[in-house]
């Protein structure tokens, strides 16, 4: 009996050490630059999450949006096919780190906290935080100070820079965190929270959709955030390639033109509704 228990313990230890060894080979494999891997396989795998109008599905179930245009252009310039991997936002960094896709092109704000886990390219876009509020609950509110009170409840999408910005600018307010933007906005429509903080221009669009219930309390965005591609740490070939690609796109005016289409016009609205 004793001998058997002993053998079992040994077997378990062996199993655990083989797991650790597998972890090490995994780390070694990822030393190869993803640029090489993408070229070799002829396919780039892009992680993203739905954020209107960065990335969303149109009526036909096809992905459209600013990020989607950027990623498609990148694949075209690299001469490879593209695969989008829609991923829940809260799990998008772990999925990148465990190699579920090659790069995040998903409107990810460059923050020092995230940068400890992943590498960011130079910004290809800037976004800012904006707010949409409930007309009855937040009647008369017109500044950040009006919302920075203990009685005020603000809904945000979990793990986003919106959450960070809202907590930084309105530390006294209470927060409700949601997995998706739509849940946060639903809470606002139901009048259970005073406001929703999110990247512009979505709050303004939502206020336009429900003009008799919601309004935009702040005239200007209250932050300006750089947005970059995120890749695994230690891959400098990829970082260099993406940086120079972004530089090129800035100088060709591609990014500016796409941004004007998705963020300043509403020409794309019929594609979704």
């Amino acid at each position: 009996m004793k001998k058997r228990v002993y053998m079992l313990t040994i077997a378990m230890l062996l199993l655990l050490s083989s797991l650790a060894a597998a972890g090490e080979t995994g780390a070694k494999l990822s030393r190869e630059s993803i640029i090489e891997k993408i070229q070799k396989e002829g396919i780039i795998r892009v992680g993203m999450a739905t954020f209107v109008p960065w990335a969303m599905k149109d009526k036909q179930g096809q992905l459209i949006g600013f990020e989607i245009d950027v990623a498609r252009k990148l694949a075209q310039d690299m001469g490879v096919k593209i695969e989008f991997i829609p991923t829940a936002w809260s799990g998008i960094i772990p999925a990148l780190l465990t190699g579920k896709f090659d790069v995040i092109i998903g409107g990810m704000g460059i923050t020092p906290e995230r940068n400890l886990k992943v590498n960011f390219t130079m910004p290809y876009d800037y976004s800012g935080m904006s707010m949409v509020a409930h007309q009855k609950k937040a009647a008369g509110f017109s500044s950040i100070g009006d919302f920075n009170k203990p009685a005020v409840i603000i809904a945000v999408r979990m793990g986003t820079t919106a959450e960070q910005a809202a907590k930084k600018f309105m530390p006294l307010a209470q927060f409700k965190l949601f997995e998706n933007e739509s849940q946060a906005l639903q809470e606002l429509n139901l009048g259970r929270v005073h406001a929703v903080v999110s990247s512009a221009p979505m709050p303004a669009f939502h206020a336009l959709k429900y003009p008799d219930k919601l309004f935009v309390p702040l005239k200007e965005n209250f932050t300006r955030e750089p947005i970059g591609f995120a890749i695994q740490k230690g891959d400098f070939d990829a970082l260099n390639y993406f940086n120079n690609w972004i530089l090129n796109m800035h100088s060709q005016g591609f990014l500016k033109e796409r941004k004007a289409y998705w963020f300043e016009s509403k020409e794309w609205e019929p594609l979704v509704n």
Binding site: L8, L19, G26, Q60, L185, Y210, N273
Partner: protein, 281 residues
């Protein structure tokens, strides 16, 4: 009859409240287009997100059920009649899995275990190298190369989870066969393994057929959990659609109905079989 009336009253009251107090703009007319739509160029009917999610849920449940059944049966047999080490292994498996929330298990499995083992198999690269016909078959049975890794890891994670419960059902079934059955088989000269395969196991499965069926149905419901690892099944597709369209209530209600149709029709079928079966005995 009274129950139905009460139900109808309850539902209409819900919609009335939604309409007046919450001022929710219902847009049910947009929902059918998310099942299927007519291609504006070719005029063909094409599958959209909700239907494709529904089909993925079915495929995922079938695979998880088949794998979970094999795993659970093996573990159940070892747990009932194995050696000390085999019984220990079976217990270890069942107790570990049953005492972890399924959500945690799926996340752990996807990020840690499957990254080291399943992804290292490079199923997606291999599948891309295969002929178009083969890829079509795989797409029909499982997923295309872009999602195969995640799909397999989800199916295996679900199978491991369901397998633990199936293991207990099977073990109980085997242990419930009276010792007299064994003795009778031996007395007519059957060997131990033969007795088990030909006499004990068939009777055990007959006893546990309906608990097993119940477990299969709950696999369908449990499959919603894998939306957290971004498997494009019904719940995930619904949430993506809500994020894009903000049709929150329409889509949740549609999803609920779809799951209900699937599980309810299955459980009715099972009940029908049960009736037939008990009449035969």
């Amino acid at each position: 009859m009274a129950v139905v009336l009460l139900l109808v009253a309850g539902i209409s009251f819900f919609f009335f409240r939604m309409g007046s107090i919450l001022a929710y703009q219902w847009e049910w007319n947009r929902i059918p287009g998310y099942f299927m739509f007519k291609d504006s160029v070719t005029g063909d009917l094409r599958v959209n997100m909700l239907l494709s999610g529904f089909l993925t849920t079915i495929r995922l449940s079938v695979w998880a059920t088949v794998l979970g059944f094999l795993l659970g049966t093996l573990s159940g047999i070892l747990g009932a009649k194995g050696s000390f080490v085999q019984r220990f292994a079976s217990r270890l498996y069942v107790e570990t899995i049953r005492n972890i929330p399924s959500l945690v298990l799926v996340i752990l499995f996807y990020y840690f275990v499957s990254s080291q083992f399943l992804d290292a198999l490079r199923l997606d690269t291999w599948l891309r190298g295969q002929s178009d016909g083969f890829q079509q078959v795989t797409l029909f049975l499982m997923e295309g190369p872009d999602r195969i890794n995640a799909f397999v890891s989800a199916a295996v994670a679900l199978a491991i989870y369901e397998g633990a419960y199936i293991s207990e059902i099977v073990r109980g079934g085997i242990n419930a066969i009276p010792a007299g059955q064994w003795e009778a088989a031996w007395s007519v000269g059957l060997s131990r393994p033969r007795t088990f395969l030909r006499v004990i196991l068939p009777q055990a499965f007959r006893r546990v057929a309906f608990p097993l069926a119940g477990q299969f149905i709950s696999t369908i419901k449990d499959s919603a959990i894998v939306s957290v690892i971004s498997i494009q099944e019904l719940t995930f597709q619904g949430m993506e659609l809500m994020a894009a369209t903000f049709l929150t209530f329409e889509i949740w209600i549609t999803i609920t109905l779809l799951y209900f149709i699937l599980t309810f029709s299955l459980s009715r079928t099972m009940a029908l079989f049960e009736k037939r079966f008990s009449r035969q005995q």
